[in-house]
């Protein structure tokens, strides 16, 4: 029994000496002590020393949550005996950090007794060895997905990259220039996109979604549904004749609906795969065929209205989710008139305005008049850092707003730019210098205060804010207002998370296994995260995280065999009546009826949830190391 002080984290509340003393006399405990930091080297050595000196055959470390250090202490014990002879008792996160002294100490003693009882019932098991599929599935073809796919492919392993839209590129493809270098976004992105399309190890499935997942780490089976483009990718020359001929006009989401596109379209000129696509929902009709103008005009004979969706089945060892972000809908902002005015636009819409290939040809205009705006107000934290909307900081808005103001001034030399901000967050390399330049050199008016209301009056958009540094109310009559909308997780990320059984938080960002030490892993083994799907971040951070996720996936698939948790269900087949309750209940199909009519558990499929054990009306199914008698003993000592 090793009771950790954890500095004052535990010892400051729980009377660790008393706890150790009480446990000294508990049946089965031969040695009991306290120590400052059990997870430290000397702490771990103390365990080794005592195992040798006292001939221990079981170890309980009463400290933080097992999610922190169960593996740490088990790997110490592995040198001497089965890792299952080591259990952790959580007396920090679920005790000292949440209770008062006296009751925390009493509870600690109960927790320790229960843990000892569980430990006494544990049996030694060897991990189950399973083969590993040396292939990775990447979901999301934005910069993060692209980077992670390239890293894995360059390491020599096969990657399947699935992208929902017709082209990879994500939001980065919509950007004009990127901070702080003002690199042309498409220019640095497109070479990577092309690399993806050319890489022999990458199978790119664009216009596709994952529909089904089964299996477990090292052996995932996925079904991917590829939508039909009705255009043969190999034949299309991207000449554009079909587009000219198409009579249908719909809003172009890539241009933030500020420009139309045809039903047959290419998302942007540098799209990868380089091909046109027919948007079935916009098209006048494919079955029955209504128009067929595009096929008429296509000299490459690339158009095929009979294309069907394809279901592609793949086996992969690891999965990386890089589904990116969405902008918080401006219609949520009541104070800003729901953003429902031509001259109140979002930062992404402004980005498209800046782009030479965008709806305004790179000219900054006041949308309602078409003339250059002389006064532009940029509002940071629109929907971010706000208890009514999104509580989090969206990380990139301070930087891109400065960039927007700078570029605006370069376009409209006699224009005036105002930026309403709460704080300026410029933590990256070269960021502070960039902001300083924007503030001083470019003479942009930074006003520290939230905007209370914006509304139209005649030709102007009136902005009512406050300058907290002078304590005065501020009114600006602007031509154009740009809202730095909060970054949020996508609704579709929620669906993906559900499919892979990983958690998302209220902002629909993927929950990592540990926010500090495991920022790219899901709690479920074999699933990793990259990019804004996990949390808002800038491009350097997304690229870094993508490489991190790749390295994690590579560590997994570079092994020939993976160890599968042996704590699975065991059926007492001799006494099985064949009632079939467990077979009906198992979500993995791990329990199957044999030819003898009895239930059999397939080791490789069982995930160890225990639902079958609870359901079995003959109590014939045991969960290894979570047996009924262990749990009943724990209940007894607790109550």
């Amino acid at each position: 029994m090793f009771v950790c002080h954890c500095g004052v984290n535990i010892a400051g509340v729980v009377d660790v000496e008393r706890v150790a003393e009480e446990m000294r006399h508990y049946p089965g405990v031969v040695f009991s002590t306290t120590y400052q930091y059990m997870c430290s080297d000397p702490g771990q050595n103390l365990i080794r020393q005592k195992i040798e000196e006292e001939g221990l055959d079981g170890v309980v470390v009463a400290a933080c949550s097992p999610s922190m250090h169960e593996e740490t202490f088990r790997s110490v014990c592995r040198d001497y005996f089965s890792e299952y002879r080591c259990e952790m008792a959580n007396i920090r996160e679920q005790d000292s950090w949440v209770h008062e002294s006296e009751e925390a100490t009493e509870k600690a003693i109960k927790i320790l007794k229960a843990t000892v009882e569980k430990l006494k019932g544990n049996e030694d098991f060897e991990p189950i060895l399973v083969p590993v599929e040396k292939k990775v599935l990447v979901i999301g073809g934005g910069i993060a997905g692209i980077q992670t796919a390239l890293d894995i492919a360059d390491a020599g392993y096969k990657v399947i990259l699935v992208e929902k839209e017709a082209s990879i590129g994500g939001h980065m493809a919509q950007l004009s220039e990127t901070f702080p270098t003002l690199d042309c976004s498409q220019c640095i992105l497109t070479p990577k996109m092309v690399s993806v399309s050319r890489h022999p190890n990458i199978k790119l499935l664009a216009y596709s979604e994952v529909t089904e997942v089964s299996g477990y780490v090292g052996n995932f089976e996925v079904k991917i549904r590829q939508k039909p483009r009705y255009v043969d990718v190999d034949k299309c020359t991207v000449c554009g004749d079909c587009e000219d001929a198409c009579p249908v006009v719909v809003p172009n989401a890539f241009e933030m609906d500020r420009e139309p596109r045809k039903a047959i379209y290419i998302p942007f000129p540098q799209a990868v795969p380089s091909t046109y696509t027919i948007d079935r929902d916009a098209c006048l009709g494919l079955a029955p065929l209504t128009c067929a103008e595009c096929r008429e005009k296509c000299e490459a004979d690339a158009i095929n209205y009979d294309m069907m969706p394809r279901i592609i089945e793949e086996k992969v060892g690891a999965i990386i989710i890089a589904t990116g972000y969405d902008m918080y809908d401006k219609s949520n902002l009541v104070e800003y008139g729901y953003g429902d005015d031509d001259d109140i636009i979002t930062s992404l819409e402004f980005e498209r305005m800046l782009s030479a290939s965008g709806p305004t040809g790179g000219n900054i205009i006041k949308p309602s008049t078409g003339k250059p705006p002389k006064k532009v107000v940029f509002i940071q934290c629109a929907g971010s850092r706000d208890r009514q909307h999104m509580p989090h900081c969206s990380s990139i808005c301070c930087m891109y707003t400065a960039k927007h103001a700078l570029l605006y001034k370069h376009h409209v030399h006699d224009g005036e730019a105002y930026i309403f901000y709460i704080d300026i967050r410029a933590t990256g390399k070269g960021y502070e210098e960039f902001i300083a330049n924007v503030m001083e050199e470019e003479r942009i008016n930074y006003v520290r205060g939230k905007v209370a209301k914006i509304f139209r009056e005649g030709d102007d958009i009136v902005v009512w804010g406050v300058d907290t540094l002078t304590g005065r109310k501020v009114e600006v009559r602007a031509d154009l207002v740009v809202l730095a909308m909060a970054l949020v997780g996508k609704e579709t990320t929620r669906d993906v998370a559900k499919l892979f059984k990983v958690a998302v938080d209220e902002g629909i960002f993927l929950k990592e296994a540990h926010p500090k030490l495991k920022p790219v892993e899901a709690l479920s083994r074999g699933i990793y995260y990259a990019g804004c799907a996990q949390a808002p971040k800038d491009i350097p951070a997304a690229v870094a995280q993508a490489s991190a996720a790749a390295s994690k996936a590579l560590a997994l698939i570079s092994k020939d065999e993976l160890e599968k948790d042996p704590l699975i269900a065991v059926v007492d087949e001799e006494h099985c009546s064949g009632c079939g309750v467990c077979i009906s209940v198992c979500p993995y199909g791990a329990l199957q009826r044999g030819s003898d009519g009895k239930a059999h558990c397939i080791e490789a499929l069982c995930e160890g949830c225990g639902t079958c054990a609870a359901a079995c009306p003959s109590n014939n199914i045991e969960m290894r190391n979570y047996r009924d008698e262990q749990i009943e003993k724990m209940i007894e000592v607790i109550v």
């Binding site: 920090r92 996160e93 229960a114 958690a503 979500p587 609870a614």
Partner: protein, 135 residues
Amino acid sequence: MSFEPKIVAFLCNWCAYAGADMAGTSRIKYPANVVPIRVMCSGRVDPEFVLDAFEKGADGVFIGGCHPGDCHYVSGNYRTRKRVIMMKKLLQEMGINPARLRLEWVSATEGKKFATVIEEFVNEIKELGPSPEGE
């Protein structure tokens, strides 16, 4: 001395247990009457455990699992929900207030919710008094 309820909590590893950890990381205080037993899934909780706990003198039993649709093992929590509804009906017929058995969905990020429901539950049991079976 006022009545201090004895409550056993079955917390699923992936959601409720992690949520309880999060309450700790966030340093949110709640009463210490509840002692946790970590199970891999709330679906592991056999109704026999619940009755066993009451028989042994528990004043309340708490089961924490993942939100419906989010179970790490797909469907364990759906089974738990149905089992708990049945158990509550049985407890009522036995003469035990079904409120002594509480099922809550607590995700790994809901530290605050965990602390809040535990506090609520403990106060509720305090009001009900010791379990009739314990007497």
